[in-house]
Amino acid sequence: MNPSFKFLLAVLIALEISFTSTWIVNLALAVIGLLLILTSRPTFKRLILLFFVPLIPASALAVAILLQSNAGVHFALVLFTRIYAYVFVGSAATLTTTVSDLVMSLEQNTHIPSKFAYGFLGAFNLLPKIVSEVNIIRAAGNMRGQALHVWSPQLYFKAILASLDWSENLAEAMTSHGFSEEAPRTYFKQIRVRWWDWLVLLGSLVLLQVALFGFHLQ
C-alpha cells in the first residue's frame, strides 16, 4: 500500500476509535494490526516489547477506571483494548514501511516541500550519530577532568552545537550535490497512488463504520 495512504489510514482509525467505545472493534483492529506486524517478520524481542510496553498504560488505565470511577467494567475494557489498538495499528504502519519510502511518498504523492522531506530524512539518518556523539562528548569531558552528567548544561550545549553544525553541513552538502529548494526533481523510485490504494483506504474506513455501527446497535 502507498506509504502516505497507510499513515493516513492509521491516523484516521486512531481518531475514530478515540471517540467510540466498542471494545470488540478495538480488539479486532489490534488483531489485524498484529497480523500485519507479523508479515514484516519482526524479531522476537520486538514482539515481546510490543506486547509488554502498552501493558503498563493499558492496565494502569483499566485499574484506575475500575477502582476510582463508576464507569464500569465495560469502559475499562474499552480503554484497555484501545491502547493496544493504537499501538498495533501504528506499529503495523511503521514496521512495514521504510523511512525513505515514507519520505519519498510524502514528497511525490502529498507534495510536501522537498526541503522538509529531505531535511527529515537527513535528520533521521543522523539519529545513530547523535547517540554516539553524546558518548563522545561525555568521554571528552572526562578526559579533561570534567564529569558531564545527564543534567550538565554543558552536555546539551555541546550536543546542540554539534547538531547546529551538522545541520549547516547537511544543508551545504545537499546544495553542493545539486539540491535546490524550489527546483523540480526527477524520481528514481517512483511511488504511485494506484486504484487499490484508494480501495483499501476507503474500503477499510467503510468497514470500520459498519462494524462500529453494527456493534453500537447491539
Binding site: 525513505s100 529531505y118 530524512l121 537527513g122 539518518n125 545513530p128 550519530k129 556523539e133 558518548n135 563522545i136 562528548i137 561525555r138 568521554a139 571528552a140 569531558g141 572526562n142 578526559m143 579533561r144 577532568g145 570534567q146 564529569a147 554543558q154 555541546k158 552545537l161 554539534a162 553544525d165 551538522w166 549547516e168 553541513n169 547537511l170 544543508a171 551545504e172 552538502a173 545537499m174 546544495t175 553542493s176 550535490h177 545539486g178 539540491f179 535546490s180 527546483a183 523540480p184 526533481r185 526527477t186 524520481y187 528514481f188 517512483q190
Partner: protein, 479 residues
C-alpha cells in the same frame, strides 16, 4: 570547460559587535579552463573560504562578499541558478564525514542525479560508471556512516563524476586519506582533466606528489590579501621543497625486551558492522615510548584507539596498566588515557580559546610544568592573538593546534592521537612535533600516534606498528 575568474574579491565573516574583519582582501586571479590548479597557503589563510565562494556555498551559508566577484565562464556565480550549478561546479569537502545527505552510497548518488533532473532510466548507468571510475563498485550498498575517511572521499568523487560537473573543487581532500588512496584519487582526477577536459582546482598545504599532475600553482598568503600564480621556475622550487622525503631508509628500533607494557592486548577482535578489522593474538604498547601506528584506509586504526578509550566494543582482552578497559570506570580510565580525536571539534568543551586552555590547566596532572610554558607554546603555534576567538570559528589547522596543545596540557599518562597532523602547514607541523616530543619526554608520557603523514616523524617516534591483514606488527622501517 570553464574559467574561474576572481576579481578584486573581499570577503568577511561579520563578528557579533558589527565589525567586518576581512578574511579575504582584494584577491584577483584566473584559474585557467581545463587546467589542474593547486591552491596552497598556510593554515588559516582562507583557502576553504575561497573554495566555498567559488562553489557558490558562500555567502549563502555564511559571511558576506564586501567587494568584487567571482565569475564562472563570464557569469557571476550568484547569477547562476542553483539547479544549474551542479553541472558547472561541484565540491569535495575537507571533512569527509559531512558531505552526504542519504544513508547509503547508492542512494547518495541517486539523490544527486534526481536533483539534476536526470531521467530515471539513465540513472543506473551513470551510477555504475561513476562507481567503476573510482573503483568502488563494492561499496555500492554500504552505509555511508560505516565507511572510513578515505572511502568517503572516493564516494564524494564518484558523486561529482556522476553529476558531470565541469569544474571540480577539492578542499584539502586528502587530509584523512592514506598515500595509496591519495595516489588513486589524484590519478583519477588527472584522467578527468586530460580525457574529459574538466577544470580542477584543489587546495592543499602539503604539496607532495602533485608535481606530475598540476599545471598551475597558486599561493594564498597567510593574511588572505594576496593570491598569486607562481611561474614555472618558482613553482618547481616550491614543489621541490616538498619532495617526498625518502622515508624508506629511515630505520627505527624494535621494542626491547626490557620495555614495560602499558597497553596489552590478547586475542583482541575488533569489528565494524559485519567486517572484522582486527584479530590479534597479542600485542603491547610500551611505557614512556612514542609509537606510530600506520595502515591503509579503513583497516581499523581509529577503531583500535576508540577501543582503548572505551568508545568502541571489543572482544578478547585489552589491558591498560593490567586493568581490563571494558571493566574500568570511565572516570578512572580517562585519568590514565586520553584520546585526541580526529575531528578537533569533538575535543572542545568551552567557547573561547582562552577558556579551553584554562580548563586544561585547571585539571592538568602537571599544572606546575605548563603554567609558565603555555604563553611560549601559544607563540610558537601562532595562537597567541586568537585567545578571545570562538574555537569553532578557527580554521582547520588552528583547531588542530589548539586541540593538541590543550590535550598535552592535561598531561594524561597515555595519550592516543588520531591523525593529529591533518590540516597543518609545514611550519606548524614541525612546531607541533617538537612540542609533542618535549612534553612527552618531560612529563614521561606514552603516546600512540595514528598518522598518514610520515614526513619528519622519524625524529618524533620510537617505534612503528603497522596494521595490515587484520594484524598489528612492529616493524623497523618507517615507510
Amino acid at each position: 570547460m570553464a574559467t574561474i575568474a576572481v576579481n578584486h574579491l573581499s570577503f568577511s565573516y561579520p563578528t557579533e559587535d558589527g565589525q567586518n574583519p576581512l578574511t579575504l582582501n582584494d584577491l584577483s586571479a584566473t584559474f585557467p579552463s581545463g587546467g589542474f590548479s593547486l591552491l596552497t597557503g598556510p593554515s588559516g589563510s582562507g583557502k576553504s573560504t575561497l573554495m566555498k565562494i567559488i562553489s557558490g556555498l558562500y555567502p549563502k551559508f555564511s559571511g558576506v562578499i564586501t567587494a568584487g566577484e567571482v565569475r564562472l565562464n563570464d557569469t557571476k556565480i550568484s547569477d547562476i541558478p542553483e539547479s544549474d550549478r551542479g553541472q558547472l561546479v561541484a565540491m569535495m569537502f575537507q571533512n569527509p564525514n559531512q558531505q552526504f545527505a542519504m544513508d547509503t552510497v547508492e542512494r547518495e548518488l541517486i539523490f544527486a542525479l534526481e536533483n539534476q533532473q536526470v531521467a530515471p532510466n539513465h540513472m543506473m548507468a551513470r551510477v555504475d560508471r561513476a562507481l567503476d571510475y573510482v573503483e568502488i563498485t563494492d561499496l555500492r550498498h554500504r552505509q555511508l556512516n560505516s565507511l572510513s575517511g578515505g572511502e568517503k572521499q572516493k564516494v564524494a568523487l564518484a558523486v561529482i563524476i556522476a553529476m558531470r560537473a565541469d569544474t571540480i573543487l577539492l578542499d584539502e581532500p586528502f587530509a584523512s586519506v592514506d598515500p595509496v588512496a591519495r595516489q588513486l584519487l589524484l590519478s583519477k582526477l588527472s584522467r578527468l582533466q586530460r580525457e574529459e577536459h574538466k577544470t580542477i582546482l584543489i587546495s592543499d598545504h602539503d604539496l607532495e606528489d602533485y608535481d606530475q599532475y598540476i599545471d598551475h600553482l597558486f599561493i594564498l598568503n597567510g593574511t588572505g590579501d594576496s593570491l598569486t600564480l607562481l611561474d614555472q621556475t618558482a613553482a618547481q622550487q616550491k614543489m621541490a621543497a616538498f619532495q617526498r622525503q625518502d622515508t624508506s631508509n629511515k630505520q627505527l628500533q624494535l621494542p626491547a625486551t626490557t620495555d614495560q607494557a602499558v597497553i596489552a592486548a590478547h586475542q583482541l577482535t575488533l569489528t565494524a558492522g559485519n567486517a572484522t578489522l582486527l584479530k590479534q593474538p597479542a600485542i603491547n604498547f610500551f611505557k614512556h615510548h612514542i609509537t606510530l601506528l600506520t595502515g591503509a584506509n579503513g583497516t581499523g586504526k581509529s577503531t583500535l584507539l576508540l577501543a582503548i578509550s572505551k568508545l568502541h566494543q571489543y572482544a578478547g582482552s585489552l589491558l591498560l596498566n593490567q586493568n581490563e578497559v571494558a571493566k574500568m570506570h570511565r572516570k578512572q580510565l580517562y585519568q590514565q588515557v586520553a584520546l585526541i580525536f580526529q575531528d578537533a571539534d569533538q575535543q572542545f568543551l568551552n567557547v573561547t580559546v582562552a577558556e579551553e586552555l584554562a580548563l586544561s590547566l585547571k585539571n592538568s596532572q602537571q599544572p606546575a610544568y605548563f603554567k609558565d610554558r603555555i604563553p611560549g607554546f601559544l607563540k610558537q603555534l601562532h595562537l597567541e592573538q586568537l585567545q578571545e576567538h570562538v574555537v569553532y570559528t578557527l580554521s582547520g589547522g588552528q583547531k588542530k593546534k589548539l586541540q593538541i596543545l590543550e590535550m598535552l596540557i592535561m598531561a594524561t599518562p597515555v595519550e592516543l592521537f588520531d591523525e593529529p597532523f591533518t590540516g597543518l602547514d609545514f611550519t606548524s607541523l614541525q612546531t607541533v612535533m617538537a612540542i609533542m616530543k618535549t612534553v612527552a619526554h618531560d612529563c614521561q608520557q606514552t603516546m600512540v600516534i595514528v598518522s598518514h603523514q610520515l614526513f619528519g616523524l622519524d625524529a618524533l617516534v620510537d617505534y612503528h606498528v603497522t596494521l595490515k591483514d587484520r594484524q598489528l606488527q612492529y616493524v623497523g622501517g618507517l615507510a
